[in-house]
Amino acid sequence: MSRLIKPEWGRFTLLLTIAAALTIIPLPESLRPYRPHWMLLALFYLGTYLPAQTGIIRSWLLGILIDAISGSLLGIHAITYAFTSYITLQFHLRLRLYAMVQQMLVITLLLCVNLTIEFLIRSATEGMPDTTLFWAPILTTPLLWPLFFIHKGWRPQSPHSR
């Protein structure tokens, strides 16, 4: 039954390309720590509204790519991206019914877990800079969710209703 609906690769690639560009676009030094986690927002959107195109392995490979460009240890972003996709895919039917504010809360929680994973790995390997600004994206990221949320109406129907 799900074969009848054409997968939306266009939206998928566009969204990920924009998110990746926003992740590495230059910002003034003072704003850099506050840069929202665009990839998390994109993955959350894809997992919730386009689950047929999202996959854990795919998110993981994407994370490896981001790790390779950004110079962090290979695997740090990969592990958090895979985790994000896992949670959104697992609960996508429920997440879709949530109001925007509830989704923002879920995003905040997800980001907290992701940052904790990253923090643990980084402090176990290369050592963290002694700054609390590491946690600053928790404040900025959920606030940008409305930008993604308004596009969900592109195709309200689930491609694979159980």
Binding site: P33, Q53, G55, I56, L65, A68, L74, I76, A82, Y86
Partner: protein
């Protein structure tokens, strides 16, 4: 493929496949992180990915370059004239200083000869080659303090090469691709550089703190003679950075009576976050080559 399409004949329910995938992927990541941290084998892979993505990086940087170009274009005739005049004055002053410096350098080398000095790394390496490079303004990980430059292997850039700006040492090259390279800045917690005090020659190692305006000195005894305002220069030990380039100025010294080591904070002299044009330095190899047979193997030299 997506977990949802596979289900028909599978033994696992959808949720189980997802969890299984997550477990596999997590284990894989942990293995990758550990091997990357221990063995540093990912270098080739990264430089390959970077050279593939270079056009995209330059595309992202394009608005930046474009706005700079527009700004240059609309600058008025008078401002240009003023700038020209002030630059000419500055150039005269610098030339004047250079004359004095040449005299001092030759006197210094004469004195060294008189002393029959064997301290080779302490000599100023006059013939360092320098080339301009530009930072491709692509932001990498906010905490790893790396920048991408527009010169690569084809311009002779090599891993470990020192990077400066007009006022001091900025860092060193850590990865290269044919047409670009990535440099690690001094301020990264992963970077350390051997330094010595210009005033009294006290040696130490400066380590990045993760903030672009702070470095820390390691293993400085509490009773050592360092005061705020002292300039620290590269000591040339380790053979990677040439001797004599300024690294930082002592910002504060915190020497507790009961501690073994003083906590010394430096402000880097280079403008780590503001420089756009940077200098790649090819150190004069003649001195280091002459030094290596005597310093490595005195036993071989004696018979």
């Amino acid at each position: 493929m997506s977990a949802n399409n596979t289900s028909q004949g599978s033994i696992f329910r959808k949720g189980d496949t997802l969890t299984l995938k997550l477990v596999i992927v997590t284990l894989l990541s942990l293995v990758l992180i550990a091997t990357d941290h221990r063995l540093h084998k990912s270098y080739q892979f990264r430089s390959w990915i970077e050279s593939v993505l270079l056009p995209a990086q330059q595309l992202i940087n394009f608005p930046n370059i474009f706005s700079l170009w527009i700004l240059e274009g609309v600058r008025s005739y008078e401002t240009l004239q003023e700038e020209n005049a002030s630059l000419r004055k500055r150039n005269l002053l610098l030339l004047h200083q250079l004359q004095k410096q040449e005299a001092i350098e030759s006197e210094n080398s004469r004195l060294r000869k008189l002393l029959n000095a064997s301290f080779i790394f302490g000599t100023v390496q006059k013939d360092d080659k320098v080339r301009l490079a530009e930072i491709i303004a692509v932001d990498l990980d906010a905490f790893s303090q790396e920048v991408v430059l527009n010169k690569g292997e084809s311009d002779g850039v090599y891993v470990g090469q020192p990077l400066m700006d007009a006022t001091g040492v900025m860092g060193q090259i850590v990865r290269t691709t044919p047409y670009s390279s990535t440099a690690l800045l001094l301020s990264s917690p992963r970077h350390s550089i051997p330094v010595q005090s210009r005033r009294n020659g006290l040696r130490s190692i400066a380590i990045g703190s993760g903030h672009s305006n702070r470095l820390k000195l390691r293993f400085v005894p509490t009773e050592s003679d360092l005061i705020p305002g002292d300039t620290l220069i590269t000591s040339g030990l380790g053979g990677r950075f040439p001797y004599g380039y300024p690294v930082g100025i002592v910002h504060s010294v915190d020497a507790q009576e009961e501690a073994h080591f003083a906590e010394v904070i430096l402000t880097p002299t280079a403008q780590l976050e503001r420089s756009r044009e940077v200098l790649l330095v090819w150190p004069d190899t003649a001195l280091t080559k002459r030094a290596s047979p005597t310093s490595n193997s005195p036993e071989v030299a004696t018979p």
